[in-house]
Each structure stands twice: as C-alpha cells, then as structure tokens.
Assembly symmetry: C2
Homo-oligomer: 220 residues x 2
Amino acid sequence: MNTPRHTVRRAAERADYDPATVHAIVDDAWLCHVAFIDHPSDPPTDQDDAFPVSIPMACWRVDDRIYIHGSNGSRLVKRLAGGAPVCLSITHLDGLVLARSAYSHSMNYRSVVVFGRFEVVPDADKASILDAFMDHIAPGRRQVARPADVNELKSTTVLGLSLREASAKVRTGGPKDKEDDLNLPVWAGVLPMREQHLPPLAEAACASWPLPDHLTGWGH
Amino acid sequence: MNTPRHTVRRAAERADYDPATVHAIVDDAWLCHVAFIDHPSDPPTDQDDAFPVSIPMACWRVDDRIYIHGSNGSRLVKRLAGGAPVCLSITHLDGLVLARSAYSHSMNYRSVVVFGRFEVVPDADKASILDAFMDHIAPGRRQVARPADVNELKSTTVLGLSLREASAKVRTGGPKDKEDDLNLPVWAGVLPMREQHLPPLAEAACASWPLPDHLTGWGH
C-alpha cells in the first residue's frame, strides 16, 4: 500500500509502483544519490538549522533491498547507521524530447525514489551482501579477486534500505505538443542517449594479458 | 572561502573547489538531484517528523548559478521558492575501477554538491534564463521553436542557486591496490563508460524532413 510521501504527485500518469519496474531501474544503476538531514552541530542545538545533504553512493540490490557501503568513520555512515530518515534517488536519462514549442520540451527518463531508513547489515551477512555487489559490478570477478580480509570487512559498514516505499517514474516516447502547435514547421522528435561501455583499459602491469573471461562482455 | 558543510571530508584529496571544475561538471549534466526537507504536515507540527526528499530535475547553468524550473503548483517549487535549504548534486560516472582485491575496487566519477537556497528568478529575467536552458539542450533550437507565450511563462517558476557553496569531487585513473596485492595474478584496470548520443529519432510527421542544422551534431 502506498504511503503519502512515496505517492507521485507531479505527472502521476508516469508513476509505477510495480516492484519489477523498480527493480529493473535499480539494477541498471551503479550509483544512487542518498539524501539525509544534517545539522551544523551534533547533537543538534536548533532544529531550524537543519539542512539536507545528498551524496552519490555506489549501490546494488539483493531481493527487495538496496544496499550501499562506506567506511565506518564517515559522516554519512554514522548518520544512516543511526536510523536517520533518507530519500534515495536514481535517475537514468534516455533522451531529450524536442517539441515544436519551447514549453513542451521534455526528457525521457527512468527514475526511482525510495523513502525509509537504512539498517546496518549484521556481520554474519556482510560478506554475502558484498559478494552481490561484486557480482553487480563484474559478474565472475569475485571468483578471481582477493576476497576482503577480516580487517577490511570490519572497517566497512554495509547498509540496506527496504524498497517498500519506492516509486518509479518513467517517460518514454515523443513530444506531446499542444494541438495548435502540431502544424508548425519545426522538426520534432527525440535525441536518444544511453550509457556506453568502452573497451576495458588494463593497468600497465597486465597490458599484455588476455582479457579475463568475466570482462569480455564489456565494451564490445 | 569554504564553509564547513561544503568542505569535502571523505577522500578529501579528490576535492576541487575551482569554479572552472565545478562549471565543467555542471555543464556536462542534463539533470541534477535536488534534496530538501519536507514534513508530513504543512506547516510542520513536529520537527522530529522531518524527512528528506530528493528529486531529479533538469538543470542548466548561467554564470555562477545553476537553474531549475517547474510548475508553480508543484510541492518542490513551493518549498524551494520559500527559501528552504537545499543540497543539489550531480554525478557523472566515467568508469568502474577493478583492483586486484575486492576491497580496493572503486569508481571513476566527477561530482558536484551544492548547498544553499534557491531564489526565484524575477519575471523580467525569466525569458532570458529559459533561453539559456534551450541553448543548453540544443543550441540553435530556440531560434526555430515557438517561444513560450505569456501564460506558459506565467505558469512556470524558474529558480536559481548560487554555486558559491559548491564542491567538486573527481576520481580518475586506475586502481590503487595495496602493496601486498600488486603481484596477484588478477587483471586490474578500468571499465570505462560515457554518455552516448544516438541518432535523432524524428516524429512520424517529420520523418521525411532533412535534419535541421542545429541537430546535425547529435549522435554522429
């Protein structure tokens, strides 16, 4: 059931609460923006001094949760591990939509906005959730890279956010000009864009090595 | 001079406060995420109920300000026009950085985070600031598209945010493995990515038209 804050108000015809839609948009992302509330002093002395902070973070999904990770000592990790309310957003831009009138120009995009509070992943689950991160970045790589050791795991906090309060918003297709503008002699359509993967760039030390199997799908 | 909140704390060696760096990252963006603080009730009855909201918005720069626009009636426009504190963030992902150990994996990116409060662009300046938006989207297009009429301009609020409290953060280059890992037999390097522009897609009504001059640079 929708909560009031994750119910899309603007252009509500573009809203989609289907987990399959939300998951697909999240899975296409390497990064999200995580917004939380901060104060000039900690603990806050005056609620009126509160200001929002929005930071890009690497992200990945397992089941119905989205995960981020960070160093134990970071401000973001400390705030979020403490249960601060957050808004996490992801946006993929698919095209610029050129209408016959300036006013009707638009963009094609797929976005997800999630409200909630992160929870710290318990130590017992940390390694498997981080494995899923590696599988997201480059499937097959965790079988060859050196796994995190005990100290590396200890210094890292992994945080998970339920997708229960998530909404997707998607615009596709061409411009929607006003009726009176349709006969203007102005080219109308879409300038499409997408994420392009370029061929892997090896470090000098492995420049002569064959590309490992788990990377042959990238940039070809 | 830096204010405490826009001074980068994590990986501070990647921070850059040079306006030229900030401007270049902003100018490469079509979208930003704008975070502000909202409350379940308006006016707020309990500050403890505050939660952050982060929404993707089209953006463009003129001089040392970044602009967004929206319908007068939207929640975001109402909050921001009222002078709410915001955090605006932009992130371009340039590559996945694959290290020999799982722990040392990273990402190459260019990001900007701006703190401040938006100001409403006065009516007298609105048309010229919106012209700059069109020049950002497709230079040359505002000379051919129908300009906004009085009612369209009236229904749109344009908001500008100073870049004074902006910081950039940039990571480039290959992985930084720990000394002990350098001889592991694991391929290390970067999986580069970028925004790709695909050929323009005309609406059916102009499918047989030649592509206008102002679009020939896109997707070729």
